[in-house]
Symmetry: C2
Subunit: 200 residues, 2 copies
């Protein structure tokens, strides 16, 4: 074996030791509260990817969409193949600038939260996706305290992922995992329109 190859192997052996010790130090299993926020793309997409992963493991998933209505038709149609273990609730009627009616938005969010609450009370549900809940919280369409309390009271092993820009600091504080999707570069700037399979 060449010196270079031996050097590489030695370096990687050390790295593996570090990695193995790191993995061994983690012993806790618990339901995670995850938040995908930030102005970049991928917040909902990654949440639906998690749903897919859970379904692939044969477990149950509930999706509640708080704001978007007509969007994400691709995922919804695709995930319909798992309809024995997936419940998908599109409760929102679109963005707030589509409805232009605050009272209607609040009512839609309240109805969505009632559905979410029943999922958050069911220990057979492995993952609850609360899509665009951050938008509902940001505009005070739902009382933050009640949402945080219901999240905290859920079954110990249940995972939850909350998506949407501008996550409230109290939610970030309560979360186990927070990822900020940052926009480095966006094709809309170059006049590219929304396309099937990408934005919807």
């Amino acid at each position: 074996m060449s010196d270079d190859a031996e050097h590489h192997r030695e370096k990687m052996r050390k790295r593996k030791d570090v990695q193995d010790r790191e993995v061994a130090s983690k012993t806790v299993e618990k339901g995670l509260l995850m938040v995908h926020t930030g102005p970049g793309k991928g917040k909902s997409t990654a949440a639906f990817g998690l749903a897919l992963r859970m379904l692939g493991h044969g477990r149950r998933v509930v999706v509640v969409q708080f704001i978007k209505g007509a969007w994400q038709t691709g995922e919804r149609d695709a995930l319909a193949r798992f309809d024995d273990r997936l419940a998908w609730h599109t409760m929102g009627e679109g963005f707030t600038w589509e409805t232009q009616d605050r009272a209607r938005d609040v009512a839609a969010c309240e109805a969505a939260w009632a559905v979410a609450r029943s999922a958050l009370a069911d220990p057979d549900v492995a993952l609850v996706v609360l899509d665009e809940l951050n938008i509902a919280l940001r505009y005070d369409y739902l009382p933050l305290d009640r949402v945080l309390l219901d999240l905290a009271s859920r079954p110990a092993m249940q995972h939850v992922v909350v998506t949407g820009r501008n996550a409230r600091p109290e939610l970030v504080e309560a979360a186990d995992l927070v990822t900020e999707m940052a926009l480095v570069k966006h094709h809309f700037k170059n006049g590219v329109k929304s396309q099937q399979g990408i934005e919807f």
Copy 2:
């Protein structure tokens, strides 16, 4: 209607005008080169979410995994339901610190790129997911120039998503959409281990 409700409606009406003009100004349709990078979670998950969306629209997807082998079994099993329109190639044998053999890593990446190239030459493939390609490029397991050339030569309407930390600046430059997943908070810090449906 109360003044508050009228104020909200007026504000949202203006917002919708801006939004509509924005949407109308986008007219270009093209295959996008997308990059998910950064230290946060969700890079591959969002890419598999895009795959799901595309499959939901009845279109063809090819996934090539450059580094990870044993991981993402959840998605792979779930997406197997679409195996008439999905080709999933797990070419990597694990992280570089697992194989500890640079020559073997390079050979695995070369074989993976050959598979990727044939997908990048097929206009019937709507989306190509090049999972963890950034890692292969970072360690010079593949020549960057050749990868960029093959990406640039693909069918005009084909979308590609490249994942992995530390995207090379030249790839970011060539991309239409770049999202950086930033880690705000991570449960591993609190001793939580990898769990089914979350990390794999």
